[in-house]
Amino acid sequence: MLNLVWPIFIIISFSYAIFSGNLQNLNTSIFDSVESAVSLSITMLGTMCLWSGIINVAANTSIMKIMNKLLKPVIKMLFPEIKENPKAQNEISMNMIANILGLGNAATPLGLKAMDTLQKENKNKKELSNSMIMLIVLNTASIQLVPTTIIAIRSSLGAENPTAIIVPVWIATVCAAIAGITVTKLLIYYSNKREKI
């Protein structure tokens, strides 16, 4: 993807800058960009290490088990088709917990494992099942307790209060997730109806 987009960006902007005589701005921005990538990474190093450390402590306590229990009813409601598949339920729950805690790197392998389990009882192996679609939609809605990357960016740019965006992010993600879930449920309902006819 980026192998296509990156050269396009560079070619368009560099040649436009040369033709429009905007070279000084371009030169300043080249060094500015490299510098801000460094300063962002350094700030991010702090936030990421702190958060990964805290989450690793959490992962070694029974906090995960408690969250798992709390999520069970939600998962039963969102995934009615896997009522008799505790393995799939458990994997989906672990994937959601990893997302909520902001463990992006752990969330994806757990989600893919759940996809694998769901595929085993998928009636049409060439098509996504209803449960798979719900799982993907939940993952694209990215419900996250602490959006660490964005907090790191804000603090690297000297924001007055880098964490001030947490509640607005919660509101926006919850709305996004509700919208995604509702649309998925509706489309599942209509596709079931069509199949019966």
């Binding site: 560079i10 290490c49 690793n56 679609i133 993907i136 804000r154």
Partner: protein, 176 residues
């Protein structure tokens, strides 16, 4: 209302850290060792993303300084004005579903240019936090089990994204 939101935002991170540490102590875990072990993973994440950031910051910075972004925004401006969508956010809204690291670069660029605590800067941050790289996620999840027929997943996921972006804009306008 705004004060409560600000208080909760400041409370979230300290409270989570406090709870996790207390839990660790109660359950007699080696809290500090586990913390160090996890923090090391944090280094790996940042080192892995660093070269990508350099490349993308360069490209996005060049798009802005050369004036290409301004031209692109001018082209879609009349359309966005009809729905009262802030034009400055447009590049982020377009790239966000496609690529995670390039949307980080675009969001940082917007925050730097309009001010990290300006309304537009906060909008960019909230959109980044509230949405995901939808197309990439769908591709990874479906291709992992070799499925090409994805039915309505794209419609559902993009609806979630659009609602997330609109809610972010509305909430930020309400805040300032």
């Amino acid at each position: 209302m705004i004060e409560i939101m600000n208080y909760l935002s400041s409370l979230a991170m300290p409270l989570i850290i406090l709870l996790v540490v207390i839990y660790g102590v109660i359950e007699k875990k080696e809290v500090f060792d586990k913390f160090i072990e996890g923090a090391k993973d944090g280094i790996k994440i940042v080192i892995n993303i660093f070269p990508t950031l350099i490349g993308l910051f360069l490209a996005v910075g060049a798009l802005r300084s050369s004036g290409v972004i301004d031209i692109a925004i001018k082209l879609v401006e009349p359309l966005l004005n009809i729905v009262n969508f802030p034009t400055e956010i447009m590049p982020l809204a377009l790239l966000r579903p496609i690529s995670g690291s390039s949307s980080i670069a675009v969001a940082t660029d917007i925050m730097k240019n309009f001010g990290v605590d300006s309304q537009i800067g906060i909008m960019a941050a909230v959109i980044m936090g509230a949405t995901e790289t939808t197309l990439y996620t769908i591709a990874i999840y479906s291709s992992s089990i070799k499925i090409k027929k994805t039915r309505f997943v794209l419609i559902a996921a993009l609806t979630a994204d659009i609602v997330g972006i609109i809610t972010s804009i509305v909430v930020c306008r309400f805040l300032s």
